[in-house]
């Protein structure tokens, strides 16, 4: 089974702290994504990566950065956490090119619920 593991299920941070959210997948997927989930707003794409050291901005990248040094790991970084970044963060992965069986299916981690005080 595909496994996407997010390092922390629950985090509480202070305003201004630097926050790292880690995500690891074990299926050799090319694509990895970070979404933010808020009630009434659904899932909004923060950043995604389709290869090592590659990154693309999603719909709401402000206040976030990402790092993908290895294929299996995709990190989301909040340089200076703010209260409006309190949210559920979902990592997902998928195959890349159509020829590699890319059906579009995303495989999700369990989520990281971040509270910024």
């Amino acid at each position: 089974d595909v496994k996407v593991t997010q390092s922390s299920r629950y985090l509480v941070k202070r305003t201004g702290e630097k926050v790292f959210l880690e995500c690891v997948q074990d299926m050799d997927h090319e694509n990895m994504f970070w979404y933010r989930q808020d009630p009434g707003l659904g899932l909004r794409l923060i950043y995604f990566s389709y290869d090592v050291k590659m990154k693309e901005k999603g719909d709401i990248p402000e206040g976030y950065s990402v790092s993908r040094e290895k294929k299996e790991r995709f990190s989301l970084i909040l340089e200076s956490a703010s209260t409006n970044q309190t949210s559920m963060y979902l990592c997902a992965s998928s195959y890349g090119l159509a020829g590699r069986g890319n059906t579009g299916e995303l495989f999700f981690g369990e989520g990281s619920r971040l509270t910024v005080l």
Binding site: V4, E30, N31, F33, Y35, G40, L41, G42, L43, R44, L45, F48, Y50, G58, L90, A92, Y95, G96, L97, A98, N102, T103, G104, E105, L106, F108, G109, E110, G111
Partner: protein
């Protein structure tokens, strides 16, 4: 840009009954995929069903089926014989299909919270 609209924030259904969740989308693309994902309470999101736009036949997966109306840009999910374990958030999603790259992210709707009542 593509948009996905789920007009029902919350729904409920009696156990063993049938329920239909609505989804509409807006796109100028001709090749794309549509998905329904399920997020049970405190559990991870999983794929329920997938539809390729070029296929006229509606996708089915056991008790789950879709009504795909391409011209109307509508993609509803029907759950038959509802079970307590179907209680979850359901998200409709769209993905543009690019044959040479396949790297387009999914666009999600805001979700429908479904409660199955015993």
């Amino acid at each position: 840009a593509q948009t996905v609209t789920q007009s029902q924030p919350e729904m409920s259904v009696q156990e063993a009954e049938t329920v239909t969740l609505s989804c509409t989308y807006d796109t100028s693309e001709n090749n794309y995929y549509l998905f329904w994902y399920k997020q049970p309470p405190s559990r991870q999101m999983i794929l329920v069903i997938r539809q390729e736009a070029y296929k006229q036949q509606n996708a089915t997966e056991n008790r789950f089926s879709v009504n795909f109306q391409k011209a109307a840009k509508s993609f509803s999910l029907k759950i038959s014989d509802s079970q307590l374990g179907d209680t979850a958030m359901y998200f409709c999603a769209f993905m543009k299909h690019e044959y040479d790259s396949g790297n387009t992210p999914l666009v999600f709707g805001k979700g429908t919270r479904l409660s199955v009542i015993a």
